[in-house]
């Protein structure tokens, strides 16, 4: 019965999406000044739809919590013996459940927009809600027609099939929902961009409405990617933190587009420039989210993220993609020419730097997109290729290096036009840091070029991030500016971690007999014993490694080679020893015939900084949102007070006695 209520809620939500679309479209057709009787339904439809979609998701969550094996989805993806937390996270560890989460977040964002946004002109709002309803409708259709999460089994299963063990991890509890919220938050930016384009209201007021949505989605994407990268790092047991896997790229591309969009929308809000560019990026960012969904679920590309792939579903999503992206780009091509050009600016100005970096970000996006889709292109000619780090790293760096340099300088420039000579001290400092650090590091040894460049840039960026604060009273610096400073500093921290990992990592792979010792860096690693142990739904061979740093007290690490039996699969559980200046990463492999065990140990200096940096970037984004919202609220309060005072003055003036002649 519960499942049927969930299904009914989804159908009702889809019907409301139709109402929202029709109501919005009619308002738009009625033209300025006129009203259509259906116009009043767009906002309530969006809000109620949000409640229904979220309700449907909560009901599915309940089915997983109590392991309702009469549901096909639960029987194929859960197991009564699974730890409770993984029963819950299993809700979105599969295709149907994660699509329902996707749609739930989409409806919730649309509902929030409809409920709280009062600044936009009513026609733009109607167009925006119509687009949002249209997008939601497609995904409801997808869920209801080809991926029904509430499908019943004719005969309830005796036991479930279990969840992919790689996904039985706390990383799964946070990483996908965060990413989905980010992807789908961009849908609001998309709808707003289309709404503004349709009503030709591309202006700073529109940009100020769009900005918090872009910032919020961007923060969630940043945190989601950071969490995902750390999860892949410790769970896959391969010692790497980024694999240029199609699904990782699918999350990186919307992030790149959102980063560009966030900067572009700020320029539009502050300076009324980059109008067409902002619209284009708004379309692009959500297009990349949908493209990612398509690539992951259609199975056209091979990836470690094994969703149950199904060409039929792929065709459905491709159809949706064609409808939304194709439609949006067509409207863009027809309408963008009619959007008046924004304010002009000189090349050496803050806008100039932002435009340069937006072009660089877009170029990196194009590189990643090309690398991700290239195997698809060659497979059409029956050639199987795998595009990996040898392509992505140097090709991305060609654009990333100039971008990072301009990022260091950009915030120091003035709006509209500036003379580089004004900031010659800062320019000299940045150049000196880059060259100095590279020279210093090269003096100590031979390192690959990219990590070397990364170290130099990280040092320069780390200092340059704080230069915009120079000569200002710190207490009076706006919160949003602190946000920018911290986010830029986070980039430097993250880059430092990546460069150190690339340049200074040490690796040892050895067959060790119990009792044997291997030396890596400052650490002596002794294999004390290998013992079988059992968990709730797995058994494992667990190694006891005693790690001594410079002959000090031993720390015990226990990497495991786990075998899950439902579904049967083996995973490698790495063991990490975290120091302030890096991590020791240990994995246990197979036993050789002579009784020795394969032990693989890495020392990765400062690798943790990659994720600390990611967290700082996210924190910077949060500060920006808080700062902007506080300014907005203050402005709103001030304008209400101003209106109040004017009313008071008029009332006084009317009541005051006429001055005597």
């Amino acid at each position: 019965m519960i499942a049927e209520i969930g299904l009914a809620a989804l159908w009702l939500a889809a019907a409301l999406a139709v109402l929202q679309l029709v109501s919005g479209a009619l308002t738009l057709r009625a033209g300025p000044g006129q009203t259509n009787p259906l116009a009043i339904y767009a906002r309530p439809a969006a809000v109620v739809q949000a409640f229904l979609a979220v309700l449907a998701f909560l009901l599915l969550l309940r089915a997983f919590a109590v392991t309702d094996l009469s549901l096909k989805l639960v029987a194929t993806n859960s197991h009564s013996m699974k730890p409770f937390i993984y029963k819950l996270t299993g809700t979105w560890g599969n295709h149907e459940g994660s699509m329902l989460l996707w749609v739930g977040v989409l409806a919730a964002s649309g509902g929030m927009l409809a409920a709280f946004e009062r600044r936009l002109p009513e026609r733009t709002m109607a167009a925006t809600l119509a687009v949002q309803g249209f997008v939601a409708l497609g995904f409801y259709a997808f869920l209801l027609l080809s991926s029904n999460p509430f499908e019943r089994l004719a005969v309830p299963a005796a036991e479930g099939n279990g969840l992919n063990p790689l996904l039985q991890d706390i990383g799964l509890a946070i990483h996908p929902p965060t990413l989905y919220a980010g992807y789908v938050g961009l849908s609001v930016a998309f709808s707003l961009a289309m709404g503004a384009l349709l009503t030709r209201e591309v202006n700073p007021a529109f940009a100020r409405v769009m900005r918090p949505w872009v910032l919020g989605a961007w923060v969630l994407l940043t945190l989601g990617i950071t969490a995902g990268s750390y999860w892949a790092y410790y769970e896959l047991g391969w010692g790497g933190w980024w694999f240029w896997d199609p699904v990782e790229n699918a999350s990186l591309m919307p992030w790149l587009a959102a980063t560009a969009l966030m900067h572009s929308v700020s320029v539009l809000a502050a300076r009324d420039a980059l109008r067409t560019w902002t619209i284009m990026l708004g379309v692009l960012a959500f297009s990349m989210s949908m493209l990612g969904t398509f690539l992951v679920r259609s199975g056209v590309l091979t990836s470690v993220h094994a969703f149950a792939v199904d060409p039929e579903r792929g065709a459905f999503i491709l159809g949706l993609l064609g409808l939304y992206i194709g439609g949006a780009l067509t409207i863009f091509a027809l309408r963008a020419g009619a959007v008046a050009e924004g304010k002009r600016f000189a090349a050496a100005s803050r806008e100039g730097a932002l435009v340069f970096n937006n072009v660089m970000l877009s170029a990196i996006l194009a590189i990643v997109l090309l690398g991700t889709l290239y195997p698809l292109l060659t497979e059409a000619f029956d050639v199987r290729v795998s595009v990996g780090p040898p392509y992505f790293n140097p090709a991305g760096a060609i654009f990333a290096v100039p971008m990072l340099l301009v990022m260091a300088v950009g915030p120091l420039l003035r709006w509209k036009s500036d003379k580089p000579a004004r900031i010659q001290f800062e320019l000299a400092l940045i150049a000196a840091l880059v060259i100095g650090v590279i020279a210093l590091v090269s003096f100590f040894g031979q390192f690959p070029l990219l990590p070397l460049l990364g170290l130099g840039l990280a040092a320069a960026l780390g200092v340059a991030a704080f230069l915009p604060l120079r000569g200002r009273t710190l207490a009076r610096v706006p919160v949003a500016t602190w946000g920018m400073v911290i986010a830029h500093f986070g980039i430097a921290v993250s880059l430092f971690g990546m460069a150190c990992e690339g340049a200074f990592s040490e690796e040892r792979l050895a067959a060790v007999a119990p009792g044997g010792t291997e030396q890596i860096g400052d650490f002596a690693v002794t294999l004390e014993a290998v013992t079988p142990i059992a968990g709730p739904n797995w058994t494992a061979m667990e190694a006891r490694l005693a790690v001594r740093q410079n002959g000090g007290e031993p720390v015990i690490l226990t990497p495991q080679a786990r075998s899950f039996w439902s579904p049967p699969q083996s995973t490698s559980e790495s063991a990490l020893l975290t120091k302030w200046n890096g991590q020791l990463y240990a994995v246990i492999g197979n036993q050789a015939e002579d009784g020795r065990w394969q032990v693989r140990v890495w020392w990765k200096p400062f690798v943790t900084f990659i994720w600390y940096g990611g967290l700082l970037i996210g924190l910077g984004g949060i500060l920006s949102i808080v700062g902007r919202m506080r300014v907005d609220l203050k402005r709103r309060a001030a304008s209400t007070m101003g209106a109040q005072r004017r009313a008071d003055v008029e009332a006084l003036g009317a009541a005051a006695p006429q001055p005597a002649e």
Binding site: A157, S298, L318, G326, L329, A333, G337, A380
Partner: protein, 174 residues
């Protein structure tokens, strides 16, 4: 000129959509052959999984080629493949089972309900033998020749369409 550049994104997208649509209609071959093919079975000796049949060991794989079936009473696909195993046994194939992480009572219950095609069943309580022969899941079925060498591996449950393949592989292993 500007008018034309505005159409560029749409053109690029149309190209991608066409390519993706074409690729979706293509069959994909994702088969990866196990590295254990051609390797001899590792030495093992397992206790009987329940009182009705003897246990299994490396020494049982002599003479005619045999099937080695990795299964468990708690495994749903194993129920699905039970009729096919039965059919193979009727055709004179000797099937040696290894029950993974199972209890004697459950094994006996499963065989009573779904039929018993096995000549012997060893009990692998910690997946030791399963991992050693390169099996990562349940059910899996191996064709082992008279010298104890692994000749073929079937991953997942045996469907009716797989029975001729297995018979042919057994023939080849003679």
């Amino acid at each position: 000129m500007r008018k034309l550049t505005l159409w560029l994104p749409l053109a690029l997208f149309a190209f991608f959509a066409g390519l993706a649509a074409y690729m979706l209609t293509q069959e994909k071959d994702q088969f990866v052959e196990s590295t254990m093919i051609g390797q001899p079975l590792p030495a093992f000796a397992l206790d009987p999984a329940f009182d009705g049949l003897p246990g299994a060991s490396r020494a049982d794989f002599t003479g005619r080629p045999k099937l080695l079936n990795i299964w468990a009473s708690w495994c749903l696909p194993c129920i699905a493949e039970a009729p096919q195993l039965e059919a193979l046994q009727k055709q004179g194939v000797e099937i040696i089972g290894i029950a993974i992480r199972d209890k004697p009572a459950d094994v006996a219950g499963f065989l009573a309900r779904y039929g018993n095609p096995y000549a012997r069943i060893g009990s692998d309580r910690i997946s030791e033998v399963q991992l050693a022969i390169g099996s990562s899941g349940v059910p899996e079925t191996f064709v082992i020749d008279g010298k104890g060498v692994i000749r073929y591996q079937h991953i997942g449950d045996i469907g009716a369409e797989d029975v001729p393949t297995l018979l042919a592989e057994l023939e080849k292993a003679q």
